[in-house]
């Protein structure tokens, strides 16, 4: 009991850091993902091709490696490194935006052409069509895959330890090796599970809320 009490405080602090990474990543990766999705759908090859290359790199290489590159590369280029936490956020954002963009693209492309045509003949402008007619329907359709990505992100925050960000999993590993005990790791596992249980609940709630139409 004593031992648990002793490790709980640093573990909760680590959880707070993990949550910060989680929320900041969502905050920036969702709008960036929108921009990327539009770039990918662009009819201009000089836009869509580079965007596709960026997505391929982000999705085709380990996030672990991307974290290291974002943090260590500046040292070789400008001779110094930057804040670990900020580097972690940048790496997470550019990685997750690539995945989010594909979900957004799938959602947008799944809306029948007839919706655009109906809006056009009723006189809706392009932006009104997008925000009033298309986006609400896209949101409903992409909730399940977004739930998937969001839950993965909760667990992926553990990767920030590779550049020594003191997030939950790093705190747990430290405590575990100091005390020769697996208990901190199990506690960390339980915390990730609880967080994802909450994430899942939010998505279920959102899906229920949009259940009024088909």
């Amino acid at each position: 009991m004593d031992f648990l009490q002793k490790i709980m405080k640093p573990m909760l602090e680590g959880t707070a850091v993990s949550l910060e990474i989680f929320f900041l990543t969502l905050l920036f990766a969702i709008p960036l993902g929108m921009v990327v999705a539009f770039g990918r759908m662009s009819k201009n090859r000089f836009v869509s091709k580079p965007v596709r290359a960026y997505q391929l790199i982000m999705r085709g290489t380990p996030l672990l490696l991307q974290l290291m590159i974002v943090f260590y590369a500046p040292y070789y280029i400008v001779g110094r490194t930057f804040d670990r936490f900020a580097s972690a956020i940048i790496a997470f954002v550019i990685n997750y935006a690539a995945y989010f963009a594909e979900i957004f693209r799938a959602g947008i492309e799944s809306i029948p052409q007839g919706q655009y045509e109906a809006a056009k003949v009723l006189g809706y402008s392009k932006s009104k069509t997008f925000f009033r007619i298309i986006v609400p329907q896209v949101v409903k359709r992409i909730l399940p895959p977004m739930g998937n990505e969001t839950m993965t992100l909760v667990k992926d925050t553990a990767l920030a330890q590779t550049i020594a960000v003191m997030e939950l999993f790093r705190v747990a590993t430290n405590a575990s090796s100091r005390a020769f005990s697996t208990i901190p790791l199990l506690v960390a596992g339980l915390i990730y599970f609880i967080l994802n249980y909450l994430v899942e609940k939010c998505y279920i709630k959102a899906e229920k809320k949009l259940d009024y139409y088909k």
Partner: protein
Amino acid sequence: MPVIEAKSVYKSFDGITVLKDVSLNVNEGEVVAIIGPSGSGKSTLLRCLNQLINIDSGSINVCSMSMVNTDEKGTCKYADKASLHKIQLKTGLVFQNFHLFPHFSVLKNITDAPMQILKMTKQEAQNKAYELLEKMNLSDKANAYPYQLSGGQAQRVSIARALALSPAVLFFDEPTSALDPELTVEILRVIKNLAKEKMTMVVVTHEMSFARDVADRVVFMDNGTVIEEGAAEKIFTNPSSERIKQFLQHFSV
């Protein structure tokens, strides 16, 4: 007064000519039925008149406003954005597959465009919507969502949605092709009633008896051209072209 004046309209997709020198005039209060085999360019013509497709050459005027014009050198030029928007509101289009907005209730489907586009107040828009719903015999469905409607009800809502903007002319693109015979009758009755009120309408249809009964004028299209047009009675009983006779053989009207 002509509501629609389309002259020498040409349109091709990927080298395939879909409309060849098509001209169409529609006068105020007139009901025009466009008939003809599938792939003859009927729907394409409607889509050009509703600005869903840009034409390659020719000219289109709506309510004496120029939508698109082609000069002597053959350059096809559309009007500016503001004029096109104004013209867009003069024309309404009812689709074969309704295309209602699934996330809006029936009422909102009808009020959203008048409020968003015409800047009507909520009260005005709703009054108009209820009036239209009553006309469509759908007053009890105001708060339903599109997925809860039968095909016939959905199509009547989409007609109400189009009428809510008070267009000068209403186009129908095979409005009953997705419906069973019973529901088809339901929709044709609605169009007939609108015809009685002197609503200007252009209906692309495969319902020959309807075309004969309701339309003032019938246009027969085949292969991207207008083969013959004239009073409904004349087209159905005494057409000059062999192609129409051949086409109409398959219908017992």
